[in-house]
């Protein structure tokens, strides 16, 4: 996803143009740029980083002009480099283009244009658009004609905006599948990937449909069908909502939106490049020592994966909290450190990687933000492809990281001869059921979880207990509760309870126990035993389990029954339940859900 915007005005548009991509930053934020029509030429300023950072370096709003286009990028293909950042210019610098979408036939067009003598500066699909227009322009000397000829040749999805020195008062734009709206203002007209681009300036908008293009001037505009060339008349839409709500796509909070995106995230995680998984697996096999490091949620992701590497791949990969790595990690040139970070900017994790590298260790990273410091620093990087995560509390990104590391564990298992290819395929088939089961929980269990969360939102102390893989799940779940609801929740191994903490238990202490499916009989019985210990001391227990209503699990005071699932995916389902439990508790307590107090999305300080 990327965001595009444009303004055709009568005053200097530098500042509002910069504002417009700031408002679109939620659509992507790894690089951005503007193209402004100055009296002499098209001035392009662009670079990699957040809009504010790029603006600091490049002074995006400085060029003087009354017309301009802008772009903020979320790279999925092609690296995050200044060259790949939009806007892109034609060879003679008379045309500038921004684009959101994917041009699927760009390779053949590019080959043809290179043959025709065009010089390309980036690896993007977008750049072909601007060279195509440049190619067609000389024949008719008519910009609109050249623009339409070019877009007719494109296959794939696009929202395109173009300015040119040949007609200095116009923005040309076109749409197919990617969103594009026009804003009608006072003395200026706007375009944007959505209303947020111009909501501060006008509430009147026109929504473009697929295969339509528009020519925008500061005081008028027209829309035509790309293929018939007929003028299209459209109703003007009044916008009457706040822009934040629009970005959330109708969800009350980003956190809930991102929880609902998890089925898709699992699918994306399973499609991560097999070559990269294979490469990391080989790196693991070649190393004497392998560490998994992360901070906060990603430390728990590491701990969860440590269990998977041990049980599936037969290797011990200690998980260490990044901030403690220097104190604990014993690294040399035969070591591998795998870092996990959503933002790729986590200071503690980056610092640990630097320390490891200085000792000659190899480094690998799993990150969500392309072009981030950790992604660039590590010897080997896997992009998790979860899409932007806006809520400060990580949900979908963490789940994706767990899946990717599980895929790595499977690959290592095969290399290590702990698994046959058949076993691996079988487990992968089980993982592929996960999206549907998560969807089932979201749809059919939300109400029960909501009811219990509201009922117990006044409880200030919780114990979250689990054994085996359910222990890191309990830890991560308790962190969700602490972060979003500001409620104390302590995760610990259920077996650890009797070695001290059990002294705390009375009728006022509330516990959640994360039960494994019955198919893992030993773990199941042990977990049940822990529940009995609490029950015997009159403690209150909520059980997350896979059994029957009112079955052996009747010793639970409250229960959330999950759909039957294979053991390899069961922990993920309990995590989703715990995410919703924390979310609804926070809603009941009216917390600032997407931006909890004292927390920041990426912690870039020591």
């Amino acid at each position: 996803m990327c965001g595009i915007s444009g303004i055709a005005g009568s005053k200097n548009i530098g500042v509002p143009l910069l504002e417009s991509i700031k408002h679109l930053e939620y659509r992507g934020y790894d690089s951005c740029g503007v193209a402004i029509m100055t009296p002499y030429h098209i001035e392009v300023r662009k670079n990699i980083g957040y809009v504010d950072e790029v603006n600091e370096r490049e002074k995006l709003s400085e060029p003087q002009g009354e017309i301009g286009i802008a772009h903020t990028r979320w790279a999925t293909h092609g690296g995050v480099t200044k060259e790949n950042t939009h806007p892109h210019l034609s060879c003679n610098k008379d045309f500038a283009v921004v684009h959101n979408g994917i041009i699927s036939n760009y390779m053949e067009i590019k080959k043809w244009l290179i043959g025709e003598g065009h010089k390309f500066h980036s690896e993007t699909d977008t750049e072909v658009i601007v060279h195509l227009i440049e190619k067609y322009f000389p024949a008719s000397k008519d910009v609109e004609n050249a623009f339409v000829m070019a877009i007719k040749q494109l296959e794939g999805t696009y929202a395109i905006a173009m300015i040119t020195t040949n007609e200095k008062d116009k923005i040309f734009c076109a749409k197919r599948e990617s969103p594009l709206v026009i804003g009608l203002g006072d003395g200026a007209n706007y375009i944007g990937s959505d209303f947020n681009a111009f909501i501060d300036y006008t509430k009147n908008a026109v929504v473009l449909d697929d295969d339509e293009y528009a020519v925008i001037l500061r005081d008028r505009y027209f829309i035509k069908n790309t293929f018939s060339g007929d003028i299209v008349r459209k109703k003007i839409t009044q916008i009457n909502w706040d822009s934040d709500m629009a970005k959330k796509g109708g969800y009350p909070h980003y956190m809930l939106k991102e929880i609902y995106e998890q089925p898709q995230c699992v699918i994306n995680a399973m499609q991560v490049d097999k070559g990269l998984i294979r490469k990391l697996s080989e790196m693991i096999m070649e190393s004497n020592r392998v560490y998994l490091i992360g901070a906060g949620t990603t430390y728990y992701v590491s701990l969860f994966s440590e269990y998977n590497f041990s049980s599936i791949a037969g290797i011990f990969t200690p998980a260490i909290s990044s901030d403690e790595f220097k104190n604990l990690g014993e690294v040399d040139k035969d070591s591998l450190v795998i870092a996990i970070s959503q933002s790729g900017e986590t200071y503690d994790t980056l610092n640990a990687l630097k320390f490891a590298k200085s000792r000659g260790a190899k480094t690998s990273a799993i990150v969500n933000v392309m072009g981030s410091s950790i992604a660039r620093f590590a010897d080997h990087t896997i992009m998790q492809g979860s899409g932007p995560e806006i809520c400060v509390i990580s949900t979908k990104a963490a789940l994706s990281q767990m899946i990717i590391l599980l895929m790595v564990a499977l690959e290592v298992g095969v290399i290590n001869k702990k698994l046959t290819i058949k076993n691996k395929n079988e487990i992968e088939r089980n993982i592929s059921m996960l999206p549907e089961l998560i969807q089932k929980i979201l749809n059919e269990k939300s109400g029960f979880i909501h009811t219990i969360a509201y009922k117990f939102s006044h409880i200030n102390n919780w114990l979250y207990l689990g054994r085996g893989k359910y222990y890191p799940i309990a830890l991560e779940s308790s962190l969700k509760m602490k972060e979003v609801a500001y409620i104390h929740a302590e995760g610990m191994p259920a077996g650890f309870l009797k070695h001290g903490t059990i002294a705390l238990i009375d009728e006022k202490l509330y516990s959640i126990i994360f039960m494994p499916p019955k198919s893992n009989e030993e773990l199941y019985n042990l977990s049940l035993g822990s529940a009995e210990e609490i029950k015997a001391r009159k403690g209150f227990i909520i059980g997350f389990h896979f059994g029957e209503k009112g079955g052996v699990e009747r010793l639970f005071n409250e229960e959330i029954i999950l759909p039957k699932a294979q053991e390899v995916i069961a922990p993920f389902l309990e995590l989703v339940v715990a995410q919703l439990f924390a979310y609804f508790t926070a809603v009941a307590l009216k917390r600032n859900i997407d931006k909890p107090r004292s927390l920041a999305k990426s912690v870039t300080v020591a």
């Binding site: 839409t237 969800y251 939300s446 509201y454």
Partner: protein, 400 residues
């Protein structure tokens, strides 16, 4: 945008009140349910309102007339044979032009904030059919929806099997295109089937409502609705013409309307409401969540707690009314006690339309219909329903 409010239903689970009035004309927090709906619609910019009336239609028409007093324009439709929701919706078809979107509102919903403007905002974002959805403690009787990650509804299950589902449910507010009327006709006016077709053909997006919400189905729901509404109050308002004579203590948000007279020694705990022209005698204790309608008389030393008195009712001295709903023109003799719990603290059961129902509430008093007369010195057992116009003799335990 225009609204279409469904207010024709009989509400047979809400006896004794619906014997003498339509369900939307039940009082909560000092207003009628329908009045609250119309005010919130107006606040969200909707002032052309169509109401489908049926059961006890004249009560609604008499009160709202053409809407001038409420700043809206009301048009009535009559559903003479109560044939369900689909039929009620279809009656208003002619009011909407092709391609026009309208807001469909079930007339028995109470929320803690303006659900209509919230739904409108969702609509304005996507310009597609919208259904407001929420999570409720009990999802047995509502349409359970399945959502995908774009908040599109993929399926609606009207009545799930025993054990129930934990799904989001329809909260009774929709924004639909006028094309929905022809879909309704295709399904022989079956609302569920029509929504199913809409989902397949045009799509139906959910707008998630996370504030409080209740569909008033049983008499005790009236008390919950009353609490939801009163909890949303931010401040106290006391009319200039109200007179507080001598020592009157007020705590928390209270609304006291015109010409109310309150005598010395009375304590009022908010949130509470006292309607225009009511008389409150000496040493009355009005506890939280009490709504006294217009023109009521409360005698010396009465204690009221979490209860609703519709207009023009009287409570004689030294009585206790708790966790109860009293209709209008009810006369309660002095020294009457409503019992509001069972001795064993079990949840109170109530007989509704001949069926015994466990209310799940540990504290619940009585439901007394309009125009009933209760003699002095009566004891009314927990969960009792007293029909409209009934006379209960002096010194009686009701029911025996």
């Amino acid at each position: 945008m225009k609204a279409l409010i469904l207010a024709a239903g009989k509400g047979s689970n809400l006896v004794p009140f619906t014997n003498t009035r339509p369900k939307p004309m039940i009082n909560v927090g000092g207003v009628f349910i329908l009045e609250n709906t119309i005010r919130l619609l107006k606040d969200s910019g909707i002032n052309v309102i169509n109401i489908v009336v049926g059961h006890e239609a004249e009560t609604i028409e008499r009160y709202f007339e053409k809407g001038a007093d409420f700043g809206v324009n009301i048009h009535y439709f009559y559903q003479n044979n109560l044939r369900g929701i689909g039929d009620a919706v279809s009656i208003a078809e002619d009011r909407f032009s092709p391609g026009e979107y309208f807001m469909l509102v079930y007339g028995d919903i109470i929320t803690s904030a303006n659900i209509f403007s919230h739904t409108l905002q969702s609509f304005n974002m996507v310009k597609e059919p919208i259904a407001s959805v929420c999570l409720t403690p009990s999802t047995k009787m509502f349409g359970n929806v399945y959502l995908n990650n774009e908040m599109k509804i993929t399926k609606i299950i009207e009545k799930p099997k025993k054990g129930g589902l934990g799904n989001y449910v329809l909260s009774g507010i929709f924004i639909l295109p006028s094309g929905f009327f022809s879909i309704l006709k295709k399904t022989k006016l079956n609302m569920e089937k029509a929504l199913g077709i809409l989902i397949n053909d045009m799509g139906l997006r959910a707008s998630i409502w996370e504030e409080e919400w209740i569909d008033v189905v049983y008499p005790w729901d009236i008390l919950i609705a009353n609490k939801i509404l009163m909890d949303s109050w931010q401040r106290t308002s006391i009319s200039k013409s109200a007179s507080l004579k001598g020592d009157v203590r007020i705590e928390g948000p209270v609304h006291i309307e015109d010409d109310v007279e309150i005598h010395s020694g009375t304590i009022i705990e908010g949130p509470s409401f006292i309607g225009a022209g009511s008389f409150i005698g000496n040493n009355v204790l009005i506890r939280k969540y009490t709504a006294i309608g217009k023109g009521c008389t409360i005698g010396y030393g009465v204690e009221l707690k979490n209860c609703i008195l519709s207009g023009n009712s009287k409570v004689g001295r030294l009585s206790f009314i708790g966790d109860s709903v009293i209709g209008s023109n009810v006369d309660i003799g002095s020294g009457t006690m409503t019992i509001n719990c069972n001795l064993d603290k079990s949840s109170v059961k109530s007989r509704i339309s001949g069926k015994i129902i466990d209310t799940g509430l540990n504290k619940l008093g009585a439901f007394i219909g309009d125009d009933a007369v209760i003699g002095s010195g009566n004891t009314i057992m927990a969960g009792t329903v007293i029909d409209a116009k009934v006379r209960v003799l002096h010194h009686y335990t009701y029911p025996k």
